[in-house]
Amino acid sequence: MTIKTSVTGAFLAAILSTTAFSGAFAADDTIKVGILHSLSGTMAISETTLKDAMLMLIDEQNKKGGLLGKKLEAVVVDPASDWPLFAEKARELVSVDKVSAVFGCWTSVSRKSVLPVFEELNSILFYPVQYEGEESQRNVFYTGAAPNQQAIPAVDYLMENESVERWVLAGTDYVYPRTTNKILEAYLISKGVKPEDIMINYTPFGHSDWQTIVSDIKKFGSAGKKTAVVSTINGDANVPFYKELANQGVKAEDIPVVAFSVGEEELAGLDTTPLVGHLAAWNYFQSVDTPANAEFIKTWKAYTKNDKRVTNDPMEAHYIGFNMWLKAVEKAGTTDTDAVLDAMIGVSVPNLSGGYSTMMPNHHITKPVLIGEIQGDGQFETVWETPGLVVGDEWSDYLPDSKDLISDWRAPMSCGNFNVATGKCGGKGS
Amino acid sequence: MNQTIGQTKPTSLLYLDGVSVSFDGFKALNALSFVVEPGELRAIIGPNGAGKTTMMDIITGKTRPDEGQVFFKGEIDLTKRDEAEIASLGIGRKFQKPTVFESHTVWDNLELALNRKRGVFSTLFYRLTAEDRARIEEILATIRMSPRRDDLAANLSHGQKQWLEIGMLLAQEPELLLVDEPVAGMTDAETAETAILLKEIAKSRSVVVVEHDMGFIRELGVKVTCLAEGAVLAEGSIDFVSSDPKVIENYLGR
């Protein structure tokens, strides 16, 4: 029994001492930045790169002299693809390590898990991944694409340039594909597509046997109308999906697949020769030909000491978010959350595709939308681009319950879900 | 012989008729018929694979026969019941390898074996009564283990485990006790004492003993059944059976 007490005691001491220890480090000579990306577990495959990207950005900034005359210090934790652990680690970053802002999360569920923490402890999260929208929170800045910055332009492109009339919406069964497909379905129907020309299919995470579904797609595509697949298939499931497409001979010229979750990183695990011509919609491609991007890629390859490392869209989102945060802190002259939150809105920084991205009052940013075709070397080639920048629309106009909602975090409205129909904050406001 | 069995059925304690069972084509029991009378002490011998243990498995409900009848106390069909039910009916069984609850004390082993209500809630709220205490003390004395009552069963010697198991069977108060090789691995002194113990036990109930040790069986001095290839080869006194040429051929050897 004495063992139990002493063990617990020792453990408590250990916890408290680490707390005190890291507390002692929280001296005033650095500004801390939290990095909350999974380094183990299922999401490590995507998120580890973002951790490296953040470390690189912080490193570069420190070479330029840091921020407000102080050095930036990265605090890395591993939430291990475990969603409740995300909340725990977020809390630890904010309340123990006293970081000024956190860059992190990939999956929607990890973001949902940490939201209350950032709200309660009043800190800042930058979320770099394309997501389903339907959210706008005071403490979160969404630097990835909302559905209107990715899905809708992609569908427009297919309709106009490939005259697609028949649609397969294939996705992994979780919130992002569900919502995106709901939005797309409503959008397609509003464009005159008949419901029987839309096939929706959901598969579990990590689905690896695509034989049946690919053959269903082929069958669906043989109805005499030009058919395309809009894929919101997530992460790991993509490689076997594309391998099956290639082997069953589904060619981009016949049934193009446009994906929203497949970037350079995912293609790195594939022989892309049979996939040439399949599409992806993003706000950034590594192949974008601008001096800023060339510089970024060069720094990245040098930082990772690996000539084969690729860059991708969420990395650019972190690049934009990080620079916006730097600018806002400089503008506010402090890292104090409320001041930075105010200063963030309207901040405009160069993105990597040759334009400027601006933080809008709804905490989403403006971005160009690029449609790229997969090339034999695992890169994308931009085949189409929105003429201007697209503002991220947090509450989709194509969902009945969210079309009346807007978000504006500027005083005096300061509301994430203002209903323009009832004129009240808080959803229906009734 | 069938006729005699037919007549004894209502009065006999255990009644097996034409029982057969096979495993993957191997006939472990082949139309075995066998009767035990109330109060009888019976020894069973037979070569390995003769079906001795399988017979016990069938009586205690562990194995279902492919065909044949098994009745207890004349009316109760044992082939339709499972182990726990059959045990509650009053058939106790001792395994070949001594099986006691090693992480319980000798006392707890007996307490668990005591013939009381065995449901979840009756055991949950069970309190040791003076009567039960006396009964356990009594059994402890019978199996000569009173001084070791607080020792863990795991720490008993092999012979002591055998005895403890017999004690547990006593606590169960069965009407029929099936004992599989009780003296295997015992010293001569222990063997002799075990024989006395079994005879004592058999005064108040029927006992069926399976054993290889002919000396031990001679010591018991009871009716002997010899099994071979899943059927009865010979039955009678030890001298009668051991002089049967078939038994000598099959089992005892020349």
Partner: protein, 538 residues
Amino acid sequence: MYRILQILFVALCLVISAHVVGSRAAEGLGPLIDQLGSAKLSDMDDHITALAKTGDAKVIPVLEALGEGELYQRKSDGKVFLVKAQGADLLLVDPATGAGAGAAPKAAMQKVKVNNAVRRAVRSALGGLTLFSDDTRARLKAAQSMLQTPNADALEAIETAIAAERDGAVRQVLDEARAVTLLVSDRPEDQKRHAIALLAEGNGRNGLAVLTSALATADASLKPDIETAIARIEQTQAFWNAGQNVWYGLSLGSVLLLAAIGLAITFGVMGIINMAHGEMVMLGAYTTFLVQEVIRSSYPQLFDWSLAIALPLAFLVTGAVGLAIERGVIRFLYGRPLETLLATWGISLILQQSVRSIFGPTNREVGNPSWMSGAFELGGLTITWNRLWIIVFALAVFAALLFLLKRTSMGLKMRAVTQNRRIASSMGIRTPWVDALTFALGSGIAGMAGVALSQIDNVSPNLGQGYIIDSFMVVVFGGVGNLWGTLVGAFSLGILNKFLEPYAGAVLGKILVLVLIILFIQKKPRGLFALKGRAVEA
């Protein structure tokens, strides 16, 4: 109409006197090709048609290069070249003359942009140009592209080609292409009716596509014919679909079998709940990756042999890792199966993180050798080569293992040790050694499975986790300790899954299979092929 006459003319000329025409048109070719470099994507179609009109044989490599993305424009003067990568530089070839034009740094060149529309235009232009090629395969490809993108303008060219065609296979495709094309043309009704009848005979999806769209626009008199033809094709397809489902089930089953077969040794025969089994599969896949890396950089001509080289290596590597695990950890845990679960779970975490640290967390590229790419048609079935080979491979591994266990002295020792360690040991078998080798064998087989699975799945540190539960289900369902049970279990679960999937969807189908397994275990607590016997439990 003018255009097809042109194509036809050109085609005929090509057959008769390609050289004469070719050299005569060559002067005009250069500027036409250069136009490709500066054209907008939307205008490309016209330029391609113009090029095709020249009918010059030299156009073929240019168009091919355009489709492959190997056509570049020199930034300095806007001239377009065929290129081949050579290190950091590009080797230029003048498309009009076919002569080398030196090398240029990548930065000085800009790729001619293509998209799917351009590729489609290239494909149909090439189809017209190569329909009369000397190369049978080129003609077949051309005929297939005609079949896939029916274009009324090409009808006469196809008919000419049919008349000239000697090769049966090409002829068959051409006939189908003609029927399909005829339906979209303005030919008379009886010809169309004929075409419909021809299409109804086949089972191709192309026919179905054309018929369905023709149904909307066809004359009232033709509609009944089309409808019966569609019904007929659908009927044949329904028949083939069932066959296709069995095939998918077999192929899923073979994957399950591969994943489970190593576990059937370590878990089924030895009783070790080996949670690190999936990681052995993963290590096998990474071995394949390493082999291919070396081959790519040093011996590219050996690429088609990469899997053959990787197989024994993967077996050795994972076998060695298995040996180390057995000697280091598991040998202390015999007789405590549930504790092997905890230890091997720990080992699996360590292996996963090691691979993540060494190779990085992202997917690694493992390519398909050419003999494992693509598909072929068998009746109405589409059979992909990689799946076919995986089934063959799974069965081969199974047979080899069965042979090893049942017919060799090593196998005899393994069975002896796992059945009764003490007796085996007293008979002079070195049990620790046999244990180690058995475990190494199971691990090695898992590694070989990894080589095969690298062909259809991600090669990432998480690879193994996706298979571990399924593998256990297969072994338990089939009956622990029985290799045939694993075989039957794997294939029946695979086929069951694939028959449920069309009705219940992939997710629900999988849930149903799991529930069925749970229920099945209630019915037969020791699996499909349980070992029966007296075996007294403790």
